[in-house]
């Protein structure tokens, strides 16, 4: 089976005041039809790696890689036209806050219908029906009401469902979710993740979940990639998280306050400069 996405030796640099600032430094990843968690602190390069998979980086960024393939397309040589087809049809991106990623002056349903029409041939009526169907797939009880609602009339969880429905419209193979639940309450967060989980397994898609929340990602994903300073620190199966060996992964886990056991002090992570060198 060919992998859904393949990254080998990815470097991304941004121009800074004193020359190129590296954001990603030699990341290699192979992704199948699975749920992969990309975890790290802010500045670890996790989001940049996710965006590189869609080539959605600012034009000033410098991208170098030995291999950067998604769904059989070589991103390093793809034309802008090919990229546009790939982005909508084969890869979907879900961002943190639906408030900013939905068009505020267009009803939610119209936006889904438009996304559907951009990749299917069909009439307006068919698009509307497809959008309603997608809305019920993301477990919205009253699709007709949400279809006509404007984004500001929807709650955070509802907005994120609309966003997911919109990304599912073209029937992508790969979904990239960048902190999809960070702006949501714990109860809603659980619902959205359950929903994503079901959709991904039902449709046999691949999912990259980018998050700073290690416990959350490990509950939800099959495999975890821990990043720090633009490098991969450790790659492991989610079920083996308690057996993580890398001191950074262990530090991330240990520093969280816990509900089940009181602790006087939280262990603070000591960062080893050697992590940034490494093999």
């Amino acid at each position: 089976m060919t992998p859904l996405a393949e990254i080998r030796g990815l470097h991304v640099d941004f121009p800074g005041s004193t020359g190129w600032q590296p954001a990603v430094r030699g990341v290699s990843l192979v992704l199948g039809r699975e749920k992969l968690g990309l975890v790290g602190e802010s500045g670890s390069g996790k989001s940049v790696t996710g965006r590189a998979l869609m080539r959605l980086l600012p034009p000033s960024a410098r991208i170098r890689a030995e291999t950067l393939r998604v769904a059989g397309t070589d991103l390093l040589t793809a034309t802008p036209e090919a990229m546009r087809r790939l982005r909508g049809a084969r890869i979907g991106l879900i961002l943190q806050d639906p408030k900013f990623s939905l068009n505020p002056v267009m009803p939610a349903g119209e936006q889904i219908a438009e996304a559907w029409r951009a990749h299917h041939r069909g009439s307006r009526r068919e698009a509307r029906e497809a959008a309603l169907e997608l809305l019920s797939q993301v477990l919205i009880r009253d699709p007709a009401r949400v279809f006509a609602a404007y984004p500001h009339e929807l709650s955070g969880g509802m907005g994120q469902r609309v966003m997911i429905a919109m990304m599912l419209a073209p029937g992508p193979d790969l979904l990239i979710a960048d902190e999809p639940t960070s702006a949501l309450d714990a109860t809603v967060q659980a619902e959205i993740l359950r929903l994503l989980d079901r959709l991904v397994s039902d449709r046999g898609m691949g999912l990259v979940l980018i998050s700073h929340d290690l416990p959350l990602v490990s509950r939800f994903c099959d495999r975890i990639v821990v990043m720090y300073g633009g490098r991969v620190m450790e790659e492991l199966r989610a079920a083996d998280l308690h057996a993580a060996r890398h001191p950074y992964t262990r530090g991330l886990l240990n520093c969280l306050p816990r509900l089940d056991a009181a602790r006087q002090r939280l262990p603070v992570l000591a960062r080893d400069p050697a992590w940034l060198e490494g093999p």
Binding site: R219, C255, L256, P257, R265
Partner: protein, 246 residues
């Protein structure tokens, strides 16, 4: 020390806080937990005097709090905000930010006090004349803590002080807050959506839902899962769910 009785806050038509009552003893750390829109931050802001249009009664150290607060109140009560990027003036250096409370309260020896305040929150001296945008999120939150403590308050109001920070930085700031609270015998009210953070810092807490306090319980009951209200139970279950993986 702090008593809130039947507090109601309305913003236009929105009834943000509905009849909240609780007391906090001197030196105690009290938590307010809830989801967004539950009114927990509004309670804190009403207590700080940042929200007008409330009814009910609030008192501190036996004195009833009115609509306008006097200088003594501002010296005794300070607050740390959620977003360390929004709570520091973008055009002022750390030195300027920290000297503001000293100027307002006419406290002498500003120079030494600022140096000591930075030391207390473990910030290097070089930070003193930097602008907020030149600092990391954790450093900014330390500056916010230093500003809150520099005039020597007895009550510290914490509004989600770590939710905008990375987990490792959160641990550092939580340790710092725990140390300072013990060293200065502060009375704290902590607002958070994260049960584990509240359990770590607080001995007692109230759970809020849609503007109402639905349950008040202590740390042991929280950790033991002995909650009675279904919303509390749900929050505990969700928090446990993530805990279990470590």
């Amino acid at each position: 020390m702090i008593e809130v009785r039947d507090l109601n806050v309305r913003f236009g038509k929105v009834h943000a806080v509905r009849g909240a009552s609780f007391t906090v003893a001197e030196g105690e750390s009290f938590g307010l937990v809830g989801e967004s829109g539950s009114g927990k931050s509004t309670v804190l802001r009403a207590l700080a005097g940042l929200v007008t249009g409330w009814t009910g009664s609030m008192s501190m150290a036996g004195c009833a709090l009115g609509r306008r607060r006097d200088a003594a109140f501002h010296r005794a009560v300070q607050m740390v905000f959620q977003d360390p990027y929004g709570s520091l003036h973008p055009r002022q250096t750390v030195d300027r930010i920290l000297s503001e409370p000293l100027i307002v309260h006419r406290i002498p020896d500003a120079d030494q006090r600022i140096a000591r305040a930075l030391e207390e929150v473990a910030l290097p001296r070089a930070v003193r004349f930097r602008f907020p945008h030149q600092l990391s999120g954790g450093q900014r939150q330390r500056v916010a803590v230093a500003r809150a403590l520099i005039a020597g308050p007895s009550v510290l109001l914490l509004d989600e002080p770590t939710s905008a920070l990375d987990a490792t930085v959160q641990a550092e700031v939580l340790n710092l807050l725990a140390d300072l609270r013990a060293a200065r015998r502060l009375t704290c009210i902590l607002v958070s959506h994260n049960l584990a953070v509240v359990a770590h810092l607080c001995t007692r807490l109230a759970v809020m839902q849609q503007g109402e306090i639905v349950e008040t319980l202590d740390e042991a009951a929280l950790r033991g899962g002995r909650a009675t209200h279904p919303h509390t139970k749900e929050l505990i279950a969700l928090s446990r769910d993530l805990d279990g993986t470590g």
